[in-house]
Symmetry: C2
Subunit: 366 residues, 2 copies
């Protein structure tokens, strides 16, 4: 949020920065489902900077973060007087519309909140307007938060925000490749091209996505569980929907206690799959299928982010990591923009790279 657009040039205080960190932490509670609602956290501070109460949103139909925090504050001795003149620190602009719950702006004003710190403006045109409403009522609004915290607030709901803008889920494609672009050796063996650090990262990635998607080919050959596990083998609290797409025969995904629901979508059309998943409330899809699935989504322009775990090893032959893209000459190449490079060290000394890329919006220079 650009502070220049607000009427106040109020500065965030150290106590409010600490409260915002806490609000971001509780918003990301792994017990909260992902899906079509944003994750939001709220911390209420007394005039002296001490925490009065905290709250967060727990998914569709439950109280918004502000309402949750206010309800907790009202259980305290001295409430509601303590709320008069208090500050609300929120990870997302308070809503100003009546949905299944009343507008948060109204709740904050009724409680007598005098100052609101907001890490991210609501991109949802239906819900936005909160800042203007609070301003109009004389509340001091602080939108200039440290860049790192603004980025965390943006990342928290990036699937949800993507859905508002594009009406389809955000798609992250993940692949493990050798230096020469192979996803498997000539005999089909592919476990493991990358080291334990890269594999653990995939499990963490699964917990941040609503759904994991593979093709029938991968379902047949790898029999993946598509669960999000910790290094010790136990399941993360949040498990993705497990989706297999394709018209070929494929075995059921292995039944695992605590795993996400399994779904088979009998189509080869990436757009159709994304539309179905969006209707089910899915906002972020992790593409973990093989080269054919990755190529189908890339050809359709439906990959928003590509994460490549690159292993410093050569095979010289075997299954290419990306299947035919319909490209025959260099000028038609699919240019990407490298947004991040990190090394993933392994105790024994092997070092995979993680490359994060997104499609280029402008042509690459020659």
């Amino acid at each position: 949020m650009d502070p220049g657009t607000t009427q106040d040039a109020a500065r965030i205080t150290p106590a409010e920065i600490a409260a915002l960190r806490r609000a971001l932490e509780i918003a990301a509670d792994p017990a909260v489902p992902l899906g079509p609602n944003p994750r939001v956290g709220c911390v209420l501070l007394a005039a002296d900077g001490t925490i009065l109460a905290e709250g967060h949103h727990r998914g569709a139909g439950t109280a918004h973060a502000e309402a949750d925090a206010l309800a907790r504050a009202r259980e305290l001795p001295g409430a509601p007087a303590a709320l008069r003149g208090a500050t609300a620190v929120v990870t997302l602009e308070p809503c100003d519309h009546t949905g299944r719950t009343a507008p948060c702006t109204q709740a904050l004003l009724e409680a007598g909140i005098a100052r609101v710190v907001i890490a991210r403006r609501d991109p949802n045109p239906q819900a936005a307007g909160g800042i203007d409403r609070l301003h109009a009522a004389g509340v001091e609004v602080v939108g200039d938060v440290p860049a790192e915290l603004a980025a965390t607030a943006a990342a928290l709901n990036r699937g949800w925000e993507h859905g508002l803008v594009h009406a389809r889920p955000l798609v992250t494609a993940k692949t493990a490749l050798t230096l020469d672009g192979r996803a498997a050796a000539a005999d089909g063996t592919s476990r493991w091209i990358t080291g334990p650090a890269a594999r653990e990262e995939v499990h963490r990635l699964r917990t941040t996505c609503d759904a994991v998607l593979v093709g029938t080919g991968t379902a047949r050959s790898d029999r993946p569980t598509l669960t999000a596990r910790r290094p010790d083998g136990t399941l993360h609290p949040r498990q993705p929907l497990r989706v297999v797409m394709g018209t070929s025969e494929a075995p059921d995904l292995p039944a695992v206690d605590g795993a996400g629901e399994a779904l088979h979508l009998p189509t080869r059309d990436p757009s159709a799959v994304l539309a179905t998943l969006f209707d089910r409330g899915i906002r972020h899809v992790l593409l973990e299928g093989g080269p054919t699935l990755a190529a189908a989504f890339l050809r359709a322009g439906l990959v928003d982010e590509l994460i490549v775990h690159l292993a410093p090893t050569l095979l010289g032959a075997g299954r290419p990591g990306v299947a035919d893209l319909g490209i025959t000459t260099l000028a038609q190449r699919l240019d990407l923009e490298l947004t991040d490079v990190a090394s993933l060290p392994t105790p024994g000394g092997a070092r995979d790279l993680r490359l994060t890329l997104r499609p280029r919006t402008t042509p690459a220079p020659a």
Copy 2:
């Protein structure tokens, strides 16, 4: 050089550090040919730290760096008295044997040099022993130089040192790949996969190698000049020998004024090529051929260093960057060790990666 192995625990002085930087700079003079002699620089310092003279070696049959510097010092007014008690700062341990020139140790002792700073011990058993000889004659020897300068001294002659140990040239293979491991599109187009920064780097790399090697296939399809050029198109002062290997027909390399000599070796055997080049005094070969040549050297275990310019782009089809290595299953993979990762930005925003790798000496952990 490990200072613990010398009898003195003498510390290098700031004036000596500056002199060593200068000695390394003049040793690397681009007018000096590479090949079978080490590049060496020498700076003579008076007792008060001022520079008396500097010298460097200019290739087989010419004066050694120490002799060159001493000869220049003797042309000064006040010589030879000024040399009594002076310090010699050298990039390589002074030789102690009589070859085409007299031993440098003897020359230093006769001149009355009292202290010698040495950036790198001579790995050549024929020439080594200089430190011991100087010590025995009562000269103070300083071997503990800053790590960065020791590394520069080592890098200066790494082809030469490799030749002493392995009796064949050091081999650096360089390749430009897409993210999915392609070296060319399906129709053979490959110019340019990488951006200008990566291409400029290749030219700089050529000036640091004695020879550039391609296969007849590349000579036919790309008609490369194999010259080392600056971004403005002019030639670098030092040009590599230009070698084409293979038994197929290949056109002569383009004639370019100022380019290195061209050589066609009618064999497909990497060992035979390296033996021939070694006999010609070549100590560092840059492999720039296509996937077949790279694979032949990799299969033979004759790649010491691999430099990959990785472009953030996808082709989905086309010529693989590395041809068949005879590997059929993942367990046989050719593991490498990633020693460096750097990004090569291009003004327009494209960013290639440079990965530097070497073969692993121990198996990679699972």
